[in-house]
Amino acid sequence: MNTWVIARNTFGDSLRKRVLLIFLLLAFVMLTLALLLNYFTAREQSTIFKSTQLTIILIFGALISITTAVYLIPTEMERRTIYSVLAKPVQRWEFFLGKFLGGAMTVAFMVGLMSVALILVLFVLAAKPQTSAIETTAAAFKMNEWLARCQHEFLLVLRAIIVLYFQLFIITAIATTLSLFLAPTVNFAVTALIWIVGSFQSFLGLSEGILTRPLYYALPHFHDFNIMGSIVHPFAGFQVNHWAYAAGVSLYAVAYALVIVLAGAAVFDRREV
């Protein structure tokens, strides 16, 4: 219960931060810029739009999650508000977990807003006949076809956003835990570095060597979250059960984030504040 109250307050505090709103505004501007690509065919426009917008959401989502998380604990300490909270019957782990969940809720809210904008624009684009030049001349707007396309796009984007969000969930967990040890600016850089190395993993061959294998499991597998190809080119013959994979990768994110957050809670529990 305490955790939930702290999470809710953290969420409210985070939404009042101007820097997050600026990121959100920038993301919206970039989302709407895609409408300027109207001179492409519907398929090209959809490919370009989805790939750029999902990347924008990922990058701005990562910026928002790191910027939110690196200040969660340090700000409380700096303002000394942590003492008044911990003076109440609140366990330290509850406080830490509440802070993390508040950060994760903030990221979810921001990503949710950007996703709504993305989906709305995709619905507009779906009204354009999704046909080749030969067919376009004969094709007229049909409500049932438009609804079918909207549903198709919605499910694609929903899957992408779920996977994308859980990637940010891990980033939030890492930044929150590292904030116990590092100054916000250093934490920002280190978390970003972990994100990049985690995305590189399968190409660095970390899973191959005996020495690098522990590192492979210790580092988050951000590369597993890269499903962009299946969202942008759903026809491309991926032999994967997409929803099962999305569920699996989300479960992995929860498990990995729990490891990080529980380790952080254990440290915070014994730490002098």
């Binding site: 790939s51 750029t52 782990w93 999704q130 004969a138 499991y217 013959g237 529990d269």
Partner: protein, 491 residues
């Protein structure tokens, strides 16, 4: 603070979560590998081995590596495509050739990049040597996107329209017609793919197969109409087009076979074939009473049946087109070809200029081809039995600011000018006169080519392709000389 027992529990839970996450990552590994595999261009997998493409891709390794590592290959490819499109709208075509190869190396599922890139190569550069590169680019796109019809259709059209290799066009259209689409809810290739297939089979000369394809198209069209889809759309059932084309193809086959039968003075066979056309028209008119064109066809068929029933044979001789021409150098790098040919008005003669051993030379690689080989052609129209064309090798055909020597290096010692009258490359009404396979053509033995490998079928009978061709060999100095000079004149 947590008690020691709580801390122990916490660490046990933490360890369980860690082991769980490691196990999950192993479970996810095959799925992740599949996402990687599907996103990997086949070119990377070693299929594309030609020197030409290696040299182009070697310059793109960095661009290909970065997006692979960061997992944003699709977005980088998309942004590069926006840039390439910008080049196109500014009329700067040259960077596009390299960019489209880079984009598809990064993201091999960009269907429009393959289609548009190949179109640039085969059409917009107006460099005939690049047509085969456009074809190869599309073939690569087909391999990388084998589950959808789109690029097979583009490949079929490029063979149909540009290389006039109808056998290859048929192969590509056939593949296309069996594939699904990239659109949600569209499991089958649109009807126009199967219609193009039938047209290509007809152009190839295999009329039996063309008729079979039109029958299949008509049946599919009726079946989809029964599902409640609106007829008369290029992508939809398009029942009328299928029915019309089936009728026309069958009618024309009977007419052509009847003409052959009359040439062979086989009145009974000619009668049988015209009677078939009469029956065909009657069947059509039963369904569409009073149809004006079919009524006319019926009248023609009825007249022919009456004539043949009365024993009046009018056998038409095979036609010798009697090609005569002169090749004149009118300026350095400019050859005027002018001549006469006894064929129907608006027929076309194919005039091709190339290195004498072009096929051998261009096989030495892309760079060699672009630096050393020359290829140009034109399908020249014949008006009132005459044709005239200037092979201008002293210009950039696309006005892109290139030096003429970039497009036409003229570095071989000898060149060929090839004149071909091929019935397969003619409009339908011209083909009606000389046959799909040139059955109605004849010429001097050194000019008449009979090619069984490109033969075709009508009513189960094999027909070799007959066409007329004359080759003239010129020296490099003949082309580069300054003053006006007649280089060749038919005897």
């Amino acid at each position: 603070m947590l008690t020691n027992a709580q801390r122990r529990l916490l660490f046990i839970f933490l360890a369980v979560c860690f082991i769980g996450s490691a196990a999950l990552s192993e479970v996810l590994r095959p799925g992740h590998q599949e996402y990687l595999r599907a996103a990997r261009p086949e070119a990377d997998a070693g299929v594309r081995e030609k020197e030409a493409e290696k040299s182009v891709l070697a310059k793109t390794s960095f661009q290909a590596l970065i997006p692979t590592l960061l997992g944003v290959r699709e977005v980088l490819a998309s942004l590069m495509w926006v840039r390439a499109d910008d080049y196109f709208h500014r009329g700067e075509y040259r960077p596009i050739l390299k960019m489209v190869r880079q984009i598809t190396a990064i993201d091999p599922h960009q269907l429009d990049v393959y289609a548009t890139g190949a179109w640039h190569m085969a059409y917009n550069f107006m460099d005939k040597r690049l047509i085969e590169d456009g074809i190869q680019f599309l073939e690569e796109g087909c391999r990388n996107n084998d589950s959808v019809y789109d690029l097979y259709f583009e490949l079929g059209y490029m063979h149909y329209d540009k290389t006039k290799d109808y056998r290859q066009a048929v192969n590509a259209y056939r593949e296309s017609s069996t594939r699904g689409t990239s659109l949600p809810g569209h499991k089958f290739a649109p009807a126009y793919v199967r219609h193009q297939l039938a047209h290509a089979v007809e152009k190839m000369g295999d009329i039996d197969a063309a008729l079979e394809q039109w029958r299949t198209n008509l049946k599919l069209a009726k079946d989809t109409e029964d599902l409640g889809l609106k007829p008369g759309q290029a992508a939809g059932p398009n029942t009328m087009a299928a029915r019309h084309n089936l009728y026309i193809t069958e009618r024309r086959m009977n007419e052509r076979l009847a003409a052959s039968a009359e040439r062979a003075k086989d009145a009974a066979e000619a009668h049988r074939l015209w009677q078939k056309n009469l029956t065909l028209a009657d069947e059509w008119l039963k369904e569409f009473p009073g149809h004006p064109d079919v009524s006319k066809d019926r009248q023609v068929a009825a007249n022919q049946v009456s004539r043949l029933s009365a024993g009046k044979l009018v056998p038409l001789d095979q036609t010798d087109p009697k090609i005569r021409f002169t090749i004149t150098r009118i300026a350095p790098r400019k050859l005027q070809v002018e001549g006469s040919i006894d064929v129907l008005n608006l027929a076309r003669i194919w005039v091709q200029f190339q290195d004498k051993d072009y096929l051998t030379r261009k096989a030495r690689g892309f760079d060699f081809k672009m630096n050393e080989c020359t290829l140009e052609w034109e399908n020249v129209q014949i008006r009132q039995g005459k044709f005239k064309h200037v092979i201008d090798l002293d210009r950039d055909p696309a006005d892109m600011g290139r030096q003429p020597s970039e497009i036409y290096p003229l570095k071989a010692d000898e060149f060929e000018v090839v004149f071909t009258f091929n019935p397969r490359l003619q409009a339908a009404f011209i083909q009606d006169r000389y046959g799909w396979n040139g059955e109605g053509l004849t010429a001097a033995p050194e000019l008449l080519k009979v090619d069984a490998s490109r033969g075709a079928r009508m009513e189960g009978k094999e027909y070799p392709l007959r066409y007329v061709e004359k080759v003239v060999v010129l020296k490099r100095d003949d082309i580069l000389g300054k003053e006006k000079k007649v280089l060749y004149k038919s005897e």
